[in-house]
């Protein structure tokens, strides 16, 4: 089965720090991959390179066979690879609903719809309804409807995370990169949030790559685990195998609070 | 067609004036990250205070040779009375706000001070030329130059040397560097950052007033004096790098020479060239030639 995303030999150094050393991974379509590793091991660097925020010093990244290594985040996003952020990137001066409407508006803009001369309300690309309906639908799906008219800034941590992910998923990405989707969220909420996300993902059909520190979340939701340490991949396989790998035990699991 | 000599001499004199006029602006920006539009007001305040006090001094028959001290005193007075009031009374409540908002606040203050000056000193020109005329002139390469201009050059050099020594050689100067680099950390380490801000702002405004005061014997002091100075100072400081003192010197020299060359060879382009250099620096190296801060651009 051809990989939807294929990273080969990625290298990246920042001065004395090696953020990536020969990182290679072929991600299969519709798979759910968990990235684990201590802070600074190279997980976020990996995501940043895939999304075009960083350019690798050497190596390549292919998306459905096409080389996307030199592209900026904007173009990569439009190709269908979208990411959420460790620190939720929201429009803090807008309400939750306005945030979603803004995201959907951008999708309309990208598709050249709803412009100056347009009449009526066009359907949002990838959805079958105009922005207002789609916004309400997505907020409903993510359990954010109660917060519709609240300012994004005053949302509790878990809701901010959810909104960030909801915004990312509004574009119906083919590849969804989640940077620590459950961080900053209480232990009880973690599983709930991941359930919600995975449910939404299954409905759309997308490949998911998520960074996670909580090993229980990883083993529960990931079909494949890639472990990073010191810029290298030290383990890559099904959760049961990867999490029991001695190097992973030593460099990743042992140092974390599960 | 002028020869190179007079072009250089004019350039040096104008650079000296620009440095004195602009260095306070870059100092205040470097420490407080504030682009202070009232800098132009203090230039004008210094000019008015210097001219009117010197005029009164001379009218009373006191020794004209001491009028230079009066000019200095006028600048000091103008700065000490107004600057702390502005900083403590208004600006310090704005520090948390966006750079552009603070700039707008200083612009509002500039407007207020423009009229305050008119209310205090009236709208008639002040022309107190004695300190200037007193020193006569000297001849270089067949052209006469007022000796007073040497004072300006001397003042600029003294200022540059003095500031360099304070920043590098004194404890206060080193603390200042710390505050410039990281006000939060400095505060956490016990440095009285608020006092630094007050002193820096007052000193920066004093330097502007000094520029105005020592220029007053050479011009007719009229309302609106600060309006041209502020935008020229912006140019000097941007070219050299916002917040950099050596940058202010370099910027002053560049603008001074560029202006001198245009005035002598192609006067129509004088202003055009100065602001083109400013735009060019912003386009190619926005942080300025010696600038430290990474500018906000994509």
């Amino acid at each position: 089965m051809p990989a939807i995303l294929d990273a080969q030999g990625l290298n990246k150094t920042f001065g004395a720090v090696t953020a990536a050393q020969g990182v290679s991974a072929a991600i299969e379509r519709d798979s759910v991959v968990g990235l684990i590793g201590t802070n600074g091991a190279g997980k976020t660097t990996f995501i940043n390179m895939i999304t075009g925020y960083l350019k690798p010093d050497s190596g390549s990244i292919r998306y459905e066979g096409r080389d996307i290594t030199p592209l900026p985040p904007r173009d990569i996003s439009r190709l269908g690879i979208c990411r959420s952020f460790q620190i939720p990137q929201l429009y803090s001066s807008l309400t939750v609903r306005e945030n979603m409407l803004m995201a959907l508006g951008i999708l309309l803009h990208n598709a050249g719809l709803g412009g100056f001369l347009a009449l009526g309300r066009p359907n949002v690309p990838g959805h079958d309804a105009p922005a207002e309906e789609v916004a309400d639908r997505i907020l409903e799906r993510f359990g954010l409807s109660a917060y519709r008219d609240r300012n994004a800034q005053v949302l509790p941590g878990g809701m901010r995370k959810l909104l960030d992910i909801a915004l990312t998923m509004a574009a119906k990405p083919r590849v969804l990169l989640l940077d620590e989707p459950t961080s900053g969220v209480s232990a009880e909420e973690k599983f709930g949030i991941m359930e919600l996300i995975m449910h939404a993902v299954k409905a759309e059909g997308a490949t998911v790559i998520f960074v996670e520190h909580d090993m229980e979340v990883v083993s529960r939701f990931a079909g494949r685990v890639i472990a990073f340490y010191d810029g290298r991949i030290i383990a890559d396989g099904p959760p049961e195998a990867a999490l029991r790998d001695p190097e992973v035990q030593r460099f990743v699991v042992g140092t974390l609070n599960a | 067609m002028s020869q190179i000599g007079p072009v250089l001499v004019d350039g040096v004199i104008y650079s000296a004036w620009l440095f004195i006029a602009a260095v306070g602006l870059t100092l205040v920006y470097g420490v407080m990250k504030i682009l202070n539009v009232t800098h132009g007001s203090f230039y004008a305040l210094g000019a008015y205070a210097g001219a009117s006090l010197t005029g009164a001094w001379l009218a009373k028959g006191y020794p004209p040779m001491l009028s230079y001290a009066v000019l200095l005193g006028g600048a000091l007075l103008a700065a000490l009375v107004v600057a702390p009031a502005i900083e403590r009374g208004l600006l310090r409540f704005m520090y948390a706000k966006d750079e552009v908002v603070i700039l707008l606040v200083t612009y509002a203050l500039f407007l207020i001070l423009e009229d305050a000056i008119k209310l205090i000193w009236g709208v008639n020109p002040y022309f107190v030329a004695e300190p200037y005329a007193l020193l006569g002139s000297f001849v270089v390469g067949g052209l006469k130059y007022p000796t007073y201009n040497l004072i300006l050059v001397g003042l600029a050099l003294a200022l540059a040397a003095g500031l360099a020594w304070v920043l590098r050689g004194t404890r206060a100067g080193k603390l200042l560097s710390a505050v410039i680099h990281d006000p939060e950390m400095s505060r956490a380490l016990g440095v009285n950052v608020d006092r630094f801000y007050l002193v820096t702002f007052t000193f920066g405004c004093f330097l502007a007033a000094l520029g105005g005061s020592f220029t007053s014997p050479t011009v007719s002091v009229v309302p609106g004096l600060g309006v041209d100075v502020i935008v020229l100072s912006f140019a000097v400081v941007v070219i050299g790098g916002l917040g950099s003192l050596p940058g202010a010197a370099l910027g002053a020299v560049i603008v001074g020479l560029v202006r001198s060359v245009s005035v002598h060879y192609l006067p129509q382009v004088e202003l055009f060239v100065i602001y083109s250099v400013m735009a060019l620096v912003l386009a190619i190296r926005p942080r300025g030639l010696f600038g430290l801060a990474e500018p906000r651009r994509i």
């Binding site: 173009d75 951008i106 309309l108 803009h109 | 552009v100 203050l109 009229d115 008119k118 055009f272 602001y275």
Partner: protein, 311 residues
């Protein structure tokens, strides 16, 4: 959510001006026309401010528009107001299209400084130009409309109606633009550029577009002001002119396309009255008003009318 009644409001104000103008004194007709001119500039400036970019150089485009009108009048004898405004709009938009490639990459204070520098370059050019009258500038012939030269008693009224018509059209088009996804990007860009880019939109493109529209509006305003006043001079490009536009913008707020015109009108009215009463405290009043606006009414006067939802 209250329905947006802006087009109706615009039409109502237009009607009021056209009908009411018949009864107003000449000096008030003049003020209203200048308010249209300045309002147009600020309408454009507001687009940039919404995106978080305060331009201290809109006077550049205002002046380009004015000198285009002046050039048409002096060199070609064209005194048709609407033609002048169209030409002013076009030349300013063209300049902004070119400059926008550079300027769209700047933010914060550097955007302000660069826009300032560009306007001062233009000032430097025209203030030393003998052919353009140096610091004095030059005069323009009285306005004509569609080939007709209105009689002395009707000129001001005719110009006001033409100005109001152009303003109505511009404000309506701006309102439409602000309803499109591109037009709505401003606050998103100001709030979180990263989010905007990661959703696939080009922030630079959006800013470039806003910059050109703002310039076009400023050019129209400048051409209108030129013919209304009958005189242009380099001061129109000076930084203090840009400062006035920023002042009106802060005072009005960005809440509506009508706000800039309200702000410009208040500015004009106060200027005339205050200046007559006490010419040496006019700027001080301006400064105090600006301070009050920044501290107490950060969303401008318009926020007093609009009832926005808060958190």
């Amino acid at each position: 959510m209250k329905p947006d009644r802006t087009p109706q409001l615009l039409a109502a104000v237009f009607a009021a001006v056209v009908v009411g103008g018949l009864a107003l004194p000449q000096w008030l007709l003049f003020i209203l026309t200048i308010a249209c001119a300045q309002g147009l500039v600020v309408l454009g400036l507001n687009l940039l401010i919404r995106a978080g970019l305060v331009s201290f150089g809109q006077a550049l485009f205002y002046c380009i528009g004015a000198y285009t009108a002046g050039g048409l009048s002096r060199a070609f004898g064209i005194s048709d107001l609407l033609l002048q405004m169209l030409a002013g709009t076009a030349s300013a938009a063209l300049a902004a299209f070119v400059l926008g490639f550079l300027l769209a990459r700047y933010r914060g204070i550097f955007f302000g400084l660069l826009s300032l520098a560009l306007s001062m370059i233009f000032y430097g050019l025209i203030v030393k130009s003998e052919t353009l009258g140096s610091t004095d500038g030059f005069n323009l012939a009285k306005a004509t409309l569609f080939g007709i030269r209105p009689g002395e008693a009707w000129v001001r009224y005719a110009v006001l109606v033409a100005a109001a018509s152009a303003t109505l059209a511009a404000a309506f088009l701006a309102w439409r633009f602000l309803k499109t996804p591109l037009g709505q990007l401003g606050p998103a860009i100001k709030d979180n550029e990263i989010r905007v880019e990661y959703m696939g939109a080009s922030v630079r493109y959006a800013i470039h577009v806003n910059y050109v529209i703002a310039a076009a509006l400023a050019g129209a305003g400048g051409a209108l002001a030129a013919t209304t006043v009958g005189h242009i001079d380099p001061e129109m490009a000076y930084w203090t002119t840009s400062g006035e536009f920023v002042f009106i913008a802060i005072l009005s707020g960005t809440g509506s396309v009508l706000a800039p015109f309200l702000g410009a009108l208040i500015f004009g009215a106060i200027h005339t009255v205050a200046f007559d009463l006490s010419p040496n405290t006019w700027q001080m009043s301006m400064g105090l008003a600006l301070l009050a606006a920044i501290v107490f009414l950060p969303d401008g006067l318009w926020s007093l009318f609009a009832r926005r939802k808060t958190a």
